[in-house]
């Protein structure tokens, strides 16, 4: 089965391609990327006026299965991913039970194969049951298919345990992904500590709760030679610390979420629980700092931290509401709108944050690029179309996000996973 993506502008930062070309797909792999490919026996997909990019990778999503299938399932989440332009997602292990052993990693992969949506790459727990006490069987999980480890939702609070995790993971070449938040400093906080928390009378989580632990992790990566990845960077000081460490050659990487570069703590006014997430929306200075980190490549990846929650649980007093918002189906549009159209970021650079960046961090071979021989995961974009975010059009089982009614410029229009056209914008 051959498929030819014809007439688009191919942007593949990993192989330095940016120009008019056709992409030929054979048996689930990319075989040729050249102008004017002529084949007689292939199905032609017209991509003129579109941008053809490597399949986007979201390295930070919560699919809620097993445990909270009312909020999301691997099937619904992987379909929401493709409808958002993603061909691969890495799912966090804070499920019920948590992904802390080989057999449950296999369960996730089995469910993902059945779903026939985006590729799902499981992330295992750092510690048994995410309790932060002793290391989980990381090797077994890697053998089963885990691409990284993380206790996301919680930090690895003990510096000693974090040190051991970084050391131990070196033998597998996988990163330890840390949710950086000093649990004492951030204790019982519901939003960013600052002017708005003072006005609303809500307990705050200071930026320092994050950046202190970012600095700790950087030092631990430095002394262990392990690879640390900082999830959802929200504070400008954290960006600065990562920038400085990378300049020194430390193996640290970071990701930014679309909400942290497009919204500030002001969104919490009125006690909107759809603006409640952890790390919280922060000040304008932090928002600008995170965006700067994305623009200059300090933060190599854009990830959604897609966190579905049941409406019943979000429709409560602000302090009682769970943290997190969904983002899979808006992230690419928000990024095109705010980064490319809003901040003058080169389209190729933005695409790099969704492709080469996360693929490098997770060590995914043959993904995040359109180089011949790669998996035929392709995201086709219309960078200029106007879209309005509509809640009833979402594929996710949950609706918890502050984006309803947002008008954005640019959107994904087609997603191919392994050469199969899995989603197309109506």
């Amino acid at each position: 089965m051959k498929r030819l993506l014809k007439g688009g502008r191919v942007v593949d930062p990993a192989s330095g391609v940016d120009g008019r070309a056709d992409v030929l797909i054979e048996d689930g792999r990319i075989t040729r990327v050249e102008p004017n490919i002529a084949t007689a026996d292939s199905e032609v997909v017209d991509c003129s006026g579109r941008v053809v990019a490597p399949g986007f990778i979201d390295m930070h999503v919560h699919l809620r299965e097993p445990g909270r299938e009312d909020e999301e399932t691997i099937a619904s989440g992987s379909r929401a991913a493709t409808a958002g332009g993603f061909t691969t997602v890495a799912c966090m292990p804070n499920t019920e039970p948590p992904l802390d052993n080989g057999s449950i990693i296999e369960f996730v992969l089995t469910q993902a194969r059945r779903a026939e949506g985006a590729n799902v790459m499981p992330i295992g727990c750092v510690t048994k049951a995410r309790k932060g006490a002793e290391l989980a069987e990381i090797g077994e999980m890697v053998r089963a298919g885990a691409v990284a480890v993380s206790d996301d939702g919680s930090p690895v609070a003990s510096p000693l345990l974090m040190r051991r995790a970084l050391e131990y993971c070196r033998q597998f070449g996988i990163p330890v992904i840390d949710h950086c938040e000093d649990p004492d400093l951030a204790a019982s906080g519901a939003m960013n500590e600052g002017q708005v928390s003072t006005a609303l009378g809500l307990r705050g989580m200071p930026c320092a709760a994050e950046d202190i632990m970012v600095c700790r992790d950087i030092r631990l990566a430095e002394i262990t030679g392990g690879r640390v990845h900082i999830a959802h960077v929200s504070a400008h000081r954290s960006v600065e610390a990562i920038r400085e460490a990378r300049a020194r050659g430390v193996a640290v990487s970071g990701e930014a979420t679309p909400h942290h570069f497009s919204l500030t703590e002001e969104a919490v006014r009125g006690f909107d629980t759809h603006a409640k997430m952890n790390p919280p929306l922060r000040s304008e200075e932090d928002r600008a700092g995170v965006m700067e980190g994305v623009l200059d490549g300090t933060l190599e990846a854009i990830a959604t931290d897609h966190a579905p929650h049941n409406a019943i649980e979000k429709d409560v007093e602000f302090e009682r509401a769970p943290f997190g918002i969904i983002g899979l189906e808006m992230a690419v549009s928000i990024s095109l709108d705010r980064l490319v159209h809003g901040a003058g970021m080169k389209l190729a650079e933005m695409i790099r944050r969704f492709t080469e960046g996360p693929a490098r961090i997770l060590g995914l071979r043959g993904r995040g690029t359109l180089a011949p021989g790669s998996h035929a995961d392709v995201t086709v974009l219309d960078p200029d179309c106007e879209v309005t975010v509509k809640m009833d059009a979402l594929h996710s089982l949950s609706r918890n996000c502050p984006y309803s009614g947002w008008k954005l410029r640019g959107a994904p229009v087609m997603t191919l996973v392994g050469g199969v056209l899995v989603w197309r914008r109506d």
Binding site: S197, T198, G201, L202, G204, G270, D315, E317, E319
Partner: protein, 312 residues
């Protein structure tokens, strides 16, 4: 004249005109308390639910007396007796209350923003009787009423608010109201109990009590929650009193006609000495009396809200 909003969620949502309307209206209600028959029929047949999910004696009884004096039927629903503790969500409880067609729901809740959630979901008018550390608008209104009664103005006055600013809805609402009315406000307390960026709400900030009180027209003392000591905000009550307890010596630094306020309940010997609390400058009991008139004014002004909708 009427209030612009159908709910009283906070001072934040009021403009100076609204505030003055409430205070002027309260003036008219003060006289009712001096009558032999302390009841007027204006809210006859109206139902008010006092939904108190946090212990409160004075605010609840103040609302209740205000409601009864206006001839409204009032129902009290308090924390331990309500279904919230049985796992029902706030919205469900609110909807159940609303099914009984109350005109106003007065809510006290330990979570900031809870009244806003109800206002968003219910048709009844909502009065915030204190939410978390956020706002306590009727307290600020009765404080402003008391100050106006004594000083005949708010504008240009120097007001010191002293104590646990961080965890005080009374401090926030008073700060907002006094700033809207053009008073100068200094907040004073140990730095651990001053919330970040409070100066952006228009307050001067100091941890020196003498400095805060110097030349003050009004001193508002806040109640210190004794459990804050366990939270590590200050080492001991003894030390707190040394730096932030209001004594007669302090009061001498203020204007000669200074008034001293406290929202109650007081911790004598912690934030205020008995000498000051019972002294000639203290207006603490007037605050309580004025509370009823101010709450009557708020209830009166919020009802009749259906008029416009019917006309539309």
């Amino acid at each position: 004249m009427r209030l612009k909003a159908r709910d009283l969620l906070g001072i934040e949502e009021l403009d100076l005109q609204d505030i003055e309307l409430i205070l002027d209206t309260a003036d008219g209600f003060l006289e009712v308390a001096r009558r032999p028959i302390k009841k007027v029929p204006i809210l006859r047949g109206r139902t008010v639910v006092n939904f108190f999910l946090e212990p409160s004696t004075r605010t609840r009884s103040s609302f209740e007396i205000a409601e009864k004096r206006l001839s409204a039927d009032s129902v009290n629903l308090v924390g331990s007796g309500s279904s919230i503790v049985k796992g029902e969500t706030l919205i469900d409880t609110g909807r159940n209350l609303e099914a009984m067609s109350p005109d106003i729901i007065v809510i006290r809740h330990s979570s900031s923003g809870a009244p806003h959630l109800l206002a968003h979901k219910l048709r009844s008018s909502i009065i915030n009787a204190g939410d978390g550390f956020h706002e306590h608008p009727t307290q600020a209104l009765l404080d402003a009423f008391t100050i106006r009664q004594k000083k005949e103005r708010l504008e240009g006055l120097r007001v010191a608010i002293v104590g646990d600013i961080a965890h005080s809805r009374v401090a926030r609402s008073n700060l907002l109201l006094l700033r809207k009315a053009g008073a100068e406000v200094t907040v004073c307390g140990p730095p651990t109990l001053i919330p970040p960026h409070i100066e952006k709400l228009g307050a001067h900030v100091t941890s020196n009590l003498a400095e805060a009180i110097e030349g003050a027209d009004v001193i508002m003392m806040l109640r210190l929650q004794l459990e804050r000591q366990k939270g590590g905000y200050f080492p001991s009550l003894r030390e707190y009193f040394y730096y932030f307890g209001l004594t007669v010596e302090h009061v001498r630094r203020a204007k000669p006609d200074v008034i001293i306020m406290h929202p109650g309940p007081m911790n004598r010997g912690v934030e205020i000495t008995s000498e000051v609390a019972d002294g000639p400058y203290s207006v603490i009991l007037e605050q309580v009396a004025n509370g009823v008139a101010v709450r009557m004014a708020v209830l009166y002004l919020l009802l009749g809200g259906s008029a416009d909708e019917e006309a539309a």
